[in-house]
Symmetry: C2
Subunit: 249 residues, 2 copies
């Protein structure tokens, strides 16, 4: 597997509700797709508990390893929302009341009680991230972007920072489905993968209506090259009787 | 947040297809729910790339921190299936041809070519995990369980090992939905959380038909205690006009 870009990202999904199974994560796939569109490779994701030490450890482990870290969850007003405080401690800076965040919360209406004010407490030096939906902003500190967990708010916040991310080469992909067991295509596929080091070839098995098959995906920054490799895969799979089918669209 | 059990688990989802956004993960929530039913707390999950060094690092980081590690993905016959080899290297043992796995693959029919035989290569000392669906077995080495990535196969493999896991106290939960912004309930909720250290109380905001609300979840090993805390939450939220509603069933 060769990397196609030097710009990497890690997503930290902060929330016991995802780990307990109460809630189905709906953010990871969005980040993977959107970052790829920007030429940024989502290299890792971690789902972690709402605990100070845990958040601090993972933020510090990831911010030094990846170009960008996006966190989701834990920035609301309740007692279990501890992400902002933990991120401040990860960076060794104070948690302060951000006056611009206070002003935005005030403009959004509703009584600005102690709990709501908590949403304006952010690490010193943080820059706000717009929240067009429920107004309580997220924030960025260095290469760490702290977003809400609710999917539509997380997406809106991401959209407001996407333009400022430094991207690598945009990553393209194409795929073809074959209706044969992976074990029958592994050898020719490996030969093709070895012959084309400029792309990454993945084989993702499926069972569809009781029929075994695999989705063969070619990814890379050179769209023309991807097309050539797909053609070669189709030729090889047709020879094997794998009935290769390119997805429509 | 207090832990309710000393038995913890970590899930390592191995697969570029999840990170690229090609595939929506469908295993994490299953593990969270099933492990909780067994009294095992899913404490963390990581989604990582199909790369030797990456898999080795995460397997070694997680197997010392958690009671159990479950991996999914990367045990098929193609060139990008490298989990078994990486796990062997993580444990510092040889990757050997497991004769019982060979026998099972042979019985399952289909030509046992070099690629299929790869699925019988496992770390020395590994115990097989049954795969009633496509027959190629998973394996266990020490506290690491290596399962397939395809959801129905992952589930069947998990079912075949679940009975042998040592559980802590079973974790129960109950929830109530309130239709008010989290900022209005944060203070009373924190008081309740402080008063009942024997349970964990989480607040998970939602927007439903344009109305802001939060799902308040109480979790713990003492079912009667959970009921008492839910009653207290309902009383407090009713006083606030939050229209608390217990989910049906």
């Amino acid at each position: 597997m060769s990397g196609q870009t030097d710009t990497t990202a890690c997503v930290l999904i902060i929330g016991n509700e995802i780990l307990s199974g109460k809630t189905q994560d709906a953010n990871l796939r969005f980040f993977g797709l959107e970052l790829a569109r920007l030429g940024i490779r989502l290299a890792e994701a971690r789902v972690i508990r709402d605990e100070h030490a845990t958040i601090i450890d993972h933020v510090n482990a990831c911010r030094t390893r990846f170009s960008y870290v996006f966190t989701t969850g834990g920035i609301g007003p309740t007692h279990d929302d501890i992400t902002a405080e933990a991120v401040a401690r990860a960076f060794g800076v104070e948690l302060i009341l951000n006056e611009e965040a206070v002003a935005r919360l005030r403009r959004s209406g509703g009584h600005l009680n102690e709990a709501r004010l908590k949403m304006a407490r952010m690490p010193a030096g943080a820059e706000l991230i717009d929240n067009p939906i429920s107004h309580a902003p997220g924030f960025r500190i260095a290469n760490v972007f702290v977003l809400a967990g609710i999917p539509n708010i997380a997406r809106a916040m991401f959209a407001s920072v996407a333009g400022g991310l430094s991207a690598g080469a945009r990553i393209h992909s194409a795929s073809v489905d074959v209706f044969t067991r992976e074990g029958d295509i592994a050898a020719p596929l490996e030969r093709i993968a070895d012959a084309w080091p400029g792309v990454e070839i993945g084989s993702y098995p499926f069972v569809r209506d009781g029929v075994f098959g695999a989705s063969l995906v070619v990814r890379g920054s050179d769209e023309a090259l991807i097309g050539e490799v797909i053609d070669e895969i189709v030729t090889a799979m047709t020879a094997l009787g794998g009935d290769p089918q390119r997805p429509l669209g």
